[in-house]
Symmetry: C2
Subunit: 339 residues, 2 copies
């Protein structure tokens, strides 16, 4: 396992007391872990299946045993580790960037999708078609160096708030999933994010939010170009898509960045379908879970079709492929840390 | 740092007793380490500079201290970790693949660069121009699944031999560099390969040769495509270059795959120049070393211009940028493990 940073240790210690510290260091025994593991999960079959799988893969000499180096776990991000409603957090970033940059772009007043954003008309964003969306992405994600973009994202996360709850976006992560990440790591798993979101949009916050360092974040990328400015080498972010880590791109991304087949996968939409298939088709152990957003009161309830993605084919096939459907309302005692 | 697995801990403990265990956990004093470190290096200024840098970055409270999570070290592969003469090992693979596949491709008898390869005319390979080289690469690296390619490469390395020494290619790694990788890891560094070679050509052997797992190998990639064959998901390797991890591509590759700035870099040609600049331009500590092939007797001697790469601009600027030039003949006691 990758050791949690001292910052993560402090955060875990503050949040969970001694248990968190023990989890962070992975010193506790498996039985003790199983009893105290995943405290924000209700004591349902879902929680038990996760614990049984981890127990099987870590029991030396058992039929399901997996060596630590092969204990790779991959997690989708939007809707799996943090909320994706009423829109992806990265879209929230784009909307705020358009407003922040509008004075430098008078042409946006009459050009979609910028016009709709500046008019506060979210539904109008799609008016410019797919090209408009790509233009929105590149206008807000390219044209600066990687260091500059890192700072823009970091600064944004420090204050940006969720439109419905008014909490910081960084407070909109699911506590049960953060516990699951820690539980897996304390059992020798290496945890990765495999998300359709931009790699460099996620990396500035994943270590603090999830204990996942930059090199364990797989996602969509745009092309960069090396240049010397003054005597200093920089990487310019170009307005050009390099890799889309979504749908069939997810197994390709896992192969490209990780180069191993994971044995544990969590997702929440048909954008994760191919990744779910990839992990569970391998010979040997393969555990897949699908987060089902069923809790209108504590989060959002949306089923097969939402404004930002589908959960259709995946639900259809979950039972026969033995994928665990996690019912947020039923299986989670707590959704957010600070409810 | 990546914690050593329990298996590694046990092995070290068995082999070296308490000292090994202390090393595995990084608890031992630096002086003890420094005395036994890098035994295949002569006691020259080069060895001392490496040890001094590691000591500075790992001494808590010191001005040069670097937290373990930021101790990222990146290594070129060809000519830095294993031999690249008389040709890149990956070219050796291509030559053998062309011969193995020739009976299925009667047209190769008259088509460059295949004709020259089948005629044993190495110098003629370039006759087909750049397009010919790309065609050679895709003919030998694409058209199969990722699992199939992994097996082809693994099988090839099991028997393929170096044309000059007659040793297995896997015996052509530099012992001093393998010691350096282990020394850095025992001091909390995470070690990566950042090579112009194909990621999936290197990954099957890097764990065994260098202790570097697949997810820590950055290199050139070709595009893959997800497909279902029968009911099994596979990734097809397409005859299409995805990313070239060479020259200015190396900082881009580091940014894309690792997402952190390394503090230690080793290379041996102008293909590493931008990566050397990238690592040593960062604020804070940055150590760069350049392997200079000066030993015609034990390996090969080539200087500013060789058949497969240049070391020109890099040598010119090494002194003023404080990059360490490692003189193989002078600084290495041993070159290969089994001399």
């Amino acid at each position: 396992m990758r050791e949690p940073s001292s910052m993560t240790r402090r955060t875990l210690s503050k949040t969970f007391g001694l248990l968190g510290l023990a989890l962070a260091y992975g010193f506790s025994g498996h039985v003790a872990l199983a009893q105290s593991a995943l405290p924000s999960w209700n004591d349902t079959a879902a929680r038990q299946r996760i614990i049984d799988f981890v127990k099987a893969t870590t029991t030396e000499g058992g039929v399901g045993y997996v060596a630590p180096a092969d204990r790779i776990a991959v997690f989708d991000n939007d809707g799996t580790l943090w909320t994706e409603q009423p829109f992806y957090i990265q879209l929230g970033f784009m909307l705020d960037r358009v407003k922040a940059l509008a004075s430098q772009h008078p042409e946006w007043k009459t050009k979609e999708p910028f016009k709709s954003i500046l008019d506060g008309d979210l539904k109008g964003i799609a008016k410019g078609g797919e090209m408009g969306i790509v233009e929105l992405g590149t206008a807000t994600h390219a044209g600066m160096t990687t260091d500059q973009f890192n700072k823009i994202v970091t600064d944004w996360f420090a204050t940006a708030k969720h439109p419905k709850t008014g909490k910081l976006y960084t407070e909109m992560t699911y506590l049960p999933m953060r516990e699951l990440l820690g539980y897996l790591r304390s059992n020798g798993f290496t945890t990765y994010i495999v998300s359709g979101g931009g790699v460099e949009f996620m990396r500035p916050v994943t270590a603090e939010l999830y204990g996942i360092p930059p090199q364990q974040v797989v996602g969509s990328t745009i092309a960069t170009q090396y240049a010397i400015v003054g005597d200093v080498p920089v990487l310019h972010r170009l307005p050009k898509v390099d890799f889309v880590d979504d749908g069939p791109g997810k197994p390709a991304g896992i192969n490209k960045f990780i180069g191993r087949k994971p044995i544990f996968v969590a997702g929440n939409s048909d954008g994760d379908y191919e990744m779910l298939r990839w992990v569970t088709a391998a010979k040997g152990p393969g555990f897949a879970m699908v987060i089902h957003h069923t809790d209108a009161e504590r989060e959002f309830a949306y089923d097969r079709q939402s404004s930002f993605g589908k959960l259709d084919k995946t639900l259809d096939e979950a039972e026969r492929r033995n994928w665990l459907i996690v019912d947020m309302k039923k299986d989670w005692k707590t959704v957010f840390a600070n409810e």
